[in-house]
């Protein structure tokens, strides 16, 4: 069987599930101007991160690269960059590389324009023109193989590994079999399960991909240990522990279920954008929501499937997030935030495959334009960029 969805065709040949204009501050110091523009102009979203200056060069490059990848997202019709004028990120490269995809890119510089109010006025005018131009675009039918699904679990409990993550694993396998792309991450939550993932790597445990998986887990574990602190107390989180997860190993083993069963093709670095890679991929990102949602949106994923047990409500500005809830009690309690009840697997009413098919159908609707619950509630403003070094 073949599947299609209705997407917005972009000049680079990719298809978006949304048709937004992103207002991107190049540095935290440009945030207030960017926020004022987003408040005023319908159809815009903002990436209100906290980076972009007084950081080590490796991180400044990383922030620039991540903002570029976000700007390339097929869910964006156009981009307005808001620069202060003295930041550490490379604004010229930011604009040039997004514009190379063929989409319209505009930029304003706050210092050059004469400050806040003038920059806001100029930004509103530019954003208004961009959204009016974008609003005329029509959806076109395209094959499901043009989909990139990102996946994550958050506010997990013991139902996650037994219900909601199994449902996402079902959808992941089906998408990979249909020729699409699936990306998962949360390297911290591979601890204790990395041998299972390495064995699933193309080329096997001892091959370059298998060894790379072990390397990124080791890197993450060493980074936590280097502070001389115990990861316990931070991972699993107090909420995970209250939900019955006793150790990072137990959390990890439940978490990796959401990646399904297909071979792992490779590991992407945090800012990396997917060009034409198909199949199942790992993105090296920590588990915390603002940072991993950003990393996943930076792959160019049109949407995310997000598993939760205790009830995580948030989404991402330019990427619809479908919440699959594994805990039947939470679904009953927080139904306005949860898109699908996988708790029926725990109560024995449905099988994993049955709820998996429901999740797949819901995914097609969301790709075609149906809002997720977090989108309807406008619960998607928190995001951030995962950096390696200190603020200096």
């Amino acid at each position: 069987m073949s599947y299609t969805f209705m997407g917005y065709r972009r000049p680079d040949g990719k298809y978006g599930a949304r048709n937004l204009v992103a207002v991107i501050p190049s540095v935290i110091c440009a945030t207030d101007v960017a926020q004022a523009i987003v408040r005023q102009v319908q159809g815009t979203v903002g990436y209100f991160h906290h980076q972009g200056c007084c950081q080590l060069p490796i991180d400044l490059t990383r922030v620039t690269d991540t903002l570029i990848s976000l700007g390339k997202s097929p869910n964006l019709a156009a981009v307005l960059v808001v620069s202060l004028g003295c930041e550490g990120t490379d604004v010229e490269r930011l604009c040039d590389e997004i514009a190379a995809t063929g989409k319209p890119v505009e930029v304003i510089h706050i210092q050059e324009l004469g400050g806040t109010s003038r920059a806001i006025q100029e930004g509103i005018d530019k954003a208004q023109a961009l959204v009016m131009q974008a609003s005329g675009l029509q959806r076109e039918e395209t094959d499901i193989s043009n989909v990139i699904m990102s996946i994550k679990c958050g506010a997990s409990d013991t139902t996650s590994g037994m219900a909601s993550n199994c449902v996402i694993g079902y959808v992941a396998d089906k998408l990979v079999d249909l020729g699409a792309t699936v990306v998962f991450g949360e390297t911290t939550e591979f601890l204790g399960g990395e041998h299972i993932l390495a064995n699933r790597a193309v080329g096997g445990y001892d091959g370059p991909v298998g060894q790379k998986i072990l390397e990124i887990v080791d890197r993450m574990e060493k980074r936590a240990k280097a502070i001389g602190e115990d990861m316990r107390g931070g991972q699993p989180t107090p909420g995970n522990i209250a939900g019955g997860l006793s150790s990072i190993e137990e959390k990890s083993l439940g978490a990796i279920v959401k990646s399904g069963h297909r071979p792992i093709q490779g590991v992407l670095e945090y800012p990396e954008f997917i060009t034409d890679q198909k199949g199942l991929w790992i993105k090296d990102a920590p588990g915390r929501e603002p940072e991993i949602l950003t990393g996943m949106a930076a792959t160019g994923a049109q949407f995310m499937m997000f598993s939760t047990g205790r009830g995580a409500p948030q989404g991402f500005p330019s990427m619809p997030v479908i919440k699959i809830c594994g805990n039947p009690n939470t679904y009953e309690h927080m139904g306005h935030d949860m898109d699908l009840n996988a708790g029926r697997i725990i109560t024995g009413e449905k099988t994993i495959d049955q709820v998996g098919e429901e999740a797949f159908e819901l995914m097609l609707k969301v790709l075609n334009g149906q809002m997720t619950k977090n989108e309807a509630l406008h619960y998607f403003s928190t995001m951030d960029i995962y950096c390696l070094g200190p603020v200096i």
Binding site: T159, G243, S247, I248, L253, G254, N329
Partner: protein
Amino acid sequence: MELKLALKVDDLDNVATIFANGITDGTVVAVRDKKGNHEDIPVIGDVPYGHKIALRDIAKGERIMKYGECIGAASADIRKGEYVHVHNLEALRGRGDL
């Protein structure tokens, strides 16, 4: 009466996860595995929804298994039916002291 259900994921597991509310000391839960086998086990301790019990006696230092994989080690002797969580299970990964 609501079924007091606990699930054992893999044959190698020595703990099961309870998916029922109101489990107190002495409540009998029905532990099921994927093959449909089941064993009634009286619970030792009050166990919240989604938390685990031991399926057999586990000696201090022994590995605790779920999903057929190690999720930590027993930090105390654990009896069959006893509540298993951070008070008697310690992670072996991501630690600053190992």
